[in-house]
C-alpha cells in the first residue's frame, strides 16, 4: 500500500457526505452488534459480588 502523506488528511475534508454516511453506518453496525449483546452475566455478577462484599465489610 502507498505511503500516506499529509495530503491524505486534506482528502478527508473532501470526502463526500455519502461516503461518510456509508462508513458511519457500517461502523455503527459492527459496534451495535456487540452492544446488543447487553451485559454478560460475568459483569453483572462481578458488580453484585463487589456490592455484597462492600456491605459485609462495612
Amino acid at each position: 500500500m502507498d505511503m500516506h502523506t499529509p495530503e491524505t488528511a486534506k482528502a478527508g475534508a473532501r470526502l463526500g457526505r455519502d461516503i461518510q454516511n456509508k462508513i458511519g453506518q457500517q461502523l455503527r453496525a459492527i459496534y451495535d452488534e456487540v452492544v446488543s449483546e447487553g451485559v454478560p452475566d460475568r459483569f453483572a455478577d462481578l458488580l453484585r459480588r463487589l456490592d455484597d462484599r462492600g456491605e459485609d465489610n462495612k
Binding site: 478527508g12 475534508a13 461518510q20 457500517q26 461502523l27 451495535d32 446488543s36 454478560p40 462481578l46 462495612k58
Partner: protein
C-alpha cells in the same frame, strides 16, 4: 467499599459500549472482556475520584483505554493486528448488510493504525463528541479531528467506495452552496 446503587447502575449501563470499544482495541473478544473486567475493578476501587454529574461512560472509557495502553506497551507484538485477526474475531453479521461488504469493512477497519481506529470508533460509533474523545485519548481536539479524517479517508481508499475524486464536483457544488449562507 460499598457502591451506591445509582452508580452501580450507571456502570452497568456502560458495559455493552465498553465491550464494543474494548473489542475494537484488542481485536479479540476474550481479551476484551478481561480488559472490561479490569476496568470495572479499577473504576470501583477509585469510585471516589469520579465526579458525580460528569459523564460516567467517558470516565470508564478513559480508564479502559489507559489500561489497554499500558498493557499494549508491554505486549506490543501480540497486540498488532495487521493480519486482520480483529476482523475474524467477530463472527456473526447483521442481516441488513451484505456479508461480503461487511467483511470487507471489518478487514479495512482492522488495518487502520490503532490511534485512527480508536478515534473513529469513539466519535463515529460510541457517540462521543470530539471534545470527549480528546479527553478520553488525552490529546488535543484537533488531533482527534485529524485522526478521524484520516481514518475515513483510509477506509474509503481501502474499500474504494466510489473514488473520492468522483465526489469532487459534488463537493465543489456544496462548497458554493455553503458559502452563500455565510
Amino acid at each position: 467499599m460499598s457502591v451506591d446503587n445509582s452508580v452501580r447502575d450507571a456502570v452497568l449501563r456502560a458495559v455493552p459500549s465498553l465491550r464494543a470499544f474494548a473489542i475494537s482495541l484488542c481485536g479479540n473478544v476474550d481479551r476484551a472482556d478481561d480488559l472490561v473486567q479490569e476496568t470495572l475493578l479499577r473504576a470501583l476501587a477509585n469510585i471516589n475520584s469520579f465526579q458525580p454529574g460528569t459523564n460516567m461512560s467517558a470516565w470508564l472509557f478513559t480508564i479502559l483505554r489507559n489500561l489497554f495502553r499500558s498493557e499494549y506497551r508491554k505486549r506490543r507484538r501480540e497486540v498488532e493486528d495487521g493480519d486482520g485477526s480483529y476482523a475474524e474475531s467477530l463472527k456473526s453479521q447483521p442481516e441488513q448488510n451484505s456479508r461480503v461488504e461487511f467483511e470487507e469493512f471489518r478487514t479495512a477497519l482492522s488495518r487502520l493504525p490503532s490511534d485512527q481506529r480508536e478515534a473513529l470508533i469513539l466519535v463515529g460509533a460510541s457517540g462521543f463528541s470530539y471534545e470527549e474523545a480528546a479527553e478520553i485519548c488525552g490529546c488535543a481536539v484537533g488531533t482527534i479531528k485529524s485522526r478521524v479524517n484520516r481514518a475515513r479517508t483510509r477506509l474509503a481508499e481501502m474499500l474504494a467506495i466510489e473514488g473520492a475524486e468522483d465526489f469532487g464536483p459534488d463537493v465543489a457544488t456544496r462548497a458554493v452552496l455553503a458559502t452563500t449562507n455565510e
